[in-house]
Amino acid sequence: MAGSQRAYRGRISSTSALKKIFRAMELIAASRISKARDAAHASEPYTQALTRAVSAVATHVGTGIEHPLLSERDDTDQVAVLVLTADRGMAGAYNASVLREAERLMATLAGEGKQVELFVVGRRGIGYFDFRRTAMVRTWQGESDAPTQDLAGELADAMLERFTASAGAGGVREIHVVYTHFRSMVSQVPRVIRMLPLEVVEGVVEADQLFPLYAFEPDTAEVLGTLLPRYIRARLWDCLLQAAASELAARQQAMHTATENAEELIRTFTRLANQARQAEITQEISEIVSGADALAGAGH
């Protein structure tokens, strides 16, 4: 009996230690979300200006627009898929749902007779594909919850290099990105976008907005050549920030639930421990009483 009491006490103390960890992780995630949001907010003017300029060029030049990053290519069946996952778990279904989305996309692409080349960000995704012996072309890890501009630059360079390479040199015809869209603190949805070739009509600019007749310096091609790589980079940066914010929000939520569950467990174990203690006391009393009874009976 004393043994079960001790066991309950032990479980209570280990659960409250865990609870403290969950609580701390919840708070850390919460504080980092605001950082990710600030970063997204700070780069907004840049992205907006870029998007506006790209739309302006697109509407100005019309459908006759020609640039390697805009044209469909059919000289190769290779396509690249970039998957953004987290470096750590403990974020509920965050990694699982983005990986499921990636698997679905890869199955669709394979069904179309395309060969998928995988690029993965985040230790969780790397581990997942490693375990399934799926070859990855290139991976990045270590900053999934606090991405840097450098990472966005590296990703953009890698993607552009692949897309502009010739068919023999590892060129790809399409680039897809799987990431998690941050809809709100309680809702994050995995999303697939086709990054390249670019679809110029982005729907970001209102239909009634008319662009003036721009003069291009030095010429249209040159301006497009400057704009498009930056545009890709800005979009990747946006994806990274969205993924980071989603990861942190998912983690905060998961850790919040974990904290609550720990509290619930502690309550249950406290009750059980009290019950065990009471049972022990009751037993002791009945032992004493029956002992006294037996002695009294023997005395006669």
Binding site: A39, S43, Y46, A53, A56, F211, P212, Y214, E217, R230
Partner: protein, 89 residues
């Protein structure tokens, strides 16, 4: 918009660098530099590496280094979008 006034915005990948009113702006391009007065024709140009100089309405100069990007001029709004921008002084 008041006659003789440009609205200038300098933004960098990470954050906005500067924005405000100006009377005259010069921006570096790969082939030299472009000066923009109010009522300039709409323009979209590649940006070089160098210094953006902004003269405010009271004649004071503000300088910022820029490193690649582009500049757009549209109805007296000058947007300078650069990879890395920094105010000088």
């Amino acid at each position: 918009m008041a006659e003789g006034s440009l609205r200038v915005e300098i933004v960098d990948q990470a954050a906005p660098v500067w924005s405000g009113r100006a009377a005259f702006v010069t921006v570096p391009t790969p082939e030299g530099s472009i000066g923009v007065y109010p009522r300039h024709q709409p323009l979209l140009s590649v940006l070089g590496t160098g210094e953006v100089r902004v003269q405010s309405d009271d004649g004071a100069w503000l300088r910022a280094t820029v490193n690649g990007g582009f500049v757009s001029v549209d109805s007296d709004v000058v947007t300078i979008v650069t990879d890395k921008g920094e105010l000088v002084g």
